[in-house]
Each structure stands twice: as structure tokens, then as C-alpha cells.
């Protein structure tokens, strides 16, 4: 498979995931599944772009570990935010 064909294949997957996430959002699911599904699809799309378009899959460890640390720190930041609001997180603002 030529590189171009491979990238176009990834593009097809990204478009499909985009359409899936828009269609599912129109179903008006309850809060928790809606958030989890939306972020999961976004994470899948981001992974495809980072691993293949940015070549992280074939990149040296030297690149991978700073990014892993960054990801951990961001999750840490988000976790503290959500923890501080945990007592009323599923409220009027996130729908049913």
C-alpha cells in the first residue's frame, strides 16, 4: 500500500467517526453516555491523527515520554476540577 493510499484510508475512518458522533448526538441520550461517547469518539479520532499523521507510532521514546507526562498532568488538572464539583456534577447544566 502506498503511503498516500494509507493516509486516505485514515481520512475515511476520520470522516466516518465524525458522522457517527454527529448522528449519535442527535439521539439525545442521557448525560453520562452522551459525554462518554462524545469524548471517546474524539479520543479515537485524535489518536488516529497523532499516531499516523504525526507519525508518533514510529517515533522515538524520547518524544513519547514528555507527551505521556503532559497527558497525565492534563488529566490530573481535569480530575481536580471535576472532583471540586463532584457533589453536584449531574445537575441542571448537563441535561437529563
Amino acid at each position: 500500500m502506498t503511503p498516500a493510499r494509507f493516509y486516505i484510508g485514515i481520512f475515511g475512518a476520520l470522516v466516518a467517526l465524525t458522522l457517527i458522533t454527529v448522528l449519535v448526538s442527535s439521539l439525545q441520550l442521557p448525560t453520562a453516555p452522551r459525554v462518554v461517547f462524545g469524548l471517546a469518539v474524539a479520543g479515537a479520532k485524535a489518536s488516529l491523527i497523532v499516531l499516523f499523521f504525526m507519525h508518533l507510532k514510529s517515533e522515538r521514546e524520547m518524544v513519547f515520554w514528555p507527551l505521556a507526562l503532559t497527558a497525565f498532568l492534563f488529566v490530573f488538572l481535569l480530575a481536580f476540577v471535576l472532583w471540586s464539583e463532584a457533589d453536584h456534577i449531574v445537575g441542571p447544566t448537563l441535561g437529563s
Binding site: I8, F11, S25
Partner: protein, 201 residues
Amino acid sequence: MHVLPYTTEVRADTGLTSPKLGIWLFLASEVMLFGSLFSSYALLRTGAASWPDQSAVLSVPLATLNTIILISSSVTMVLAWTALAPGPQAQNPARFKLYMGLTLLLGAAFLAVKAIEYGDKFAHGLFPATNTFLALYFTMTGVHAVHVLVGMAVNAYLLVSGARMWRTEPERFANRVEIAGIYWHFVDVVWVFLFPVLYLL
């Protein structure tokens, strides 16, 4: 004139060229920039007494179109680099120019759609000061749009000035295109998260 070291050969201690390590470290800092905006969104929304129905305020069809536009620009960007990269296929600077030109066109289309969206909001009296959601929407998409603009400036420079460096130092130029591509893909990844968070949730 002193040439920058390690633009084509790797450093022994990192195993990478300096630009490659540099762009990834820069993107790590950008993750924290956008990360702070996303966690602000999480804090403000979970703490709010009420929140508008986002998909009713914003245009999901326009944003879906913009998502496809930006993903397409990522594909044309990586194809632009593939046209110059060492490998089994012969290098083709004309193909680089075509795909880089398309990347710029798609970037411009993205910004045009955003301008239409913003104009529509303003026409309906919806501004950043109107409510917390709109403040977050304009700030997050605005900061992202500035990143798109800067990326386009870099890409335009590479498109216009590339011919000279391709003739004298082709590998160094191909590496420049790769680095610009990594930045551009990151801008796409940020939008991949902005789209569901601001429009769909």
C-alpha cells in the same frame, strides 16, 4: 553564516533532530494551554445553575462541515510532506506545491466558515459577554482560530520560499515541512475536541 546544527542529522543524546524534539515539546505546552481552557469549561459548566442547549445556539451542520474541512487539510498536509520525504516514492516538488496549496485553501475555508458563524452570532445579538457559554465558545474557538492563522502563515512561507531551499538543502526543507505538518495536525486535534465539547454535548 552559521548553519543551525542537527536539522538533518540526529543528536546522539536525544536520538532526534532538534526541530523534531522542539516541536513536540512546544506542542506539550500547547496541550496545557488548551487544557486549561477545556478544564475551565468543565469547571464553569458543572458549577453553573443553568446552561443553554449548545446545539440550539450553535450551528452543528456548519461545525461538522468545518471538521471535515480541517481533517481534509491534515490529509493534504501529510501528502505534501510525503511528496518531499525520502522513501520508496520519488520526490516531487510540484506535488508538494499542489498539496500545500490545497492545505492553505482548506485552512482559509475553515476560517471563512468560522467568520460566517461569528457574524451570525453577532447579528442575533449574541456576544462573548452575553453568557458564560458564549464567553467560553468565543474564547476557545478564537484562540484556536489564531492558531490556524499562524499555521497558515508558516505553510504559506514554506510554499512560497520552498523552491530555493529544495534546490540547495532538500532534506532540511523536507524536515521543515514535516515539522510544520506536526503543528498543523495538532491544530486539527484541538478542533476534534472542540467540536463535540462546544457543539454536541
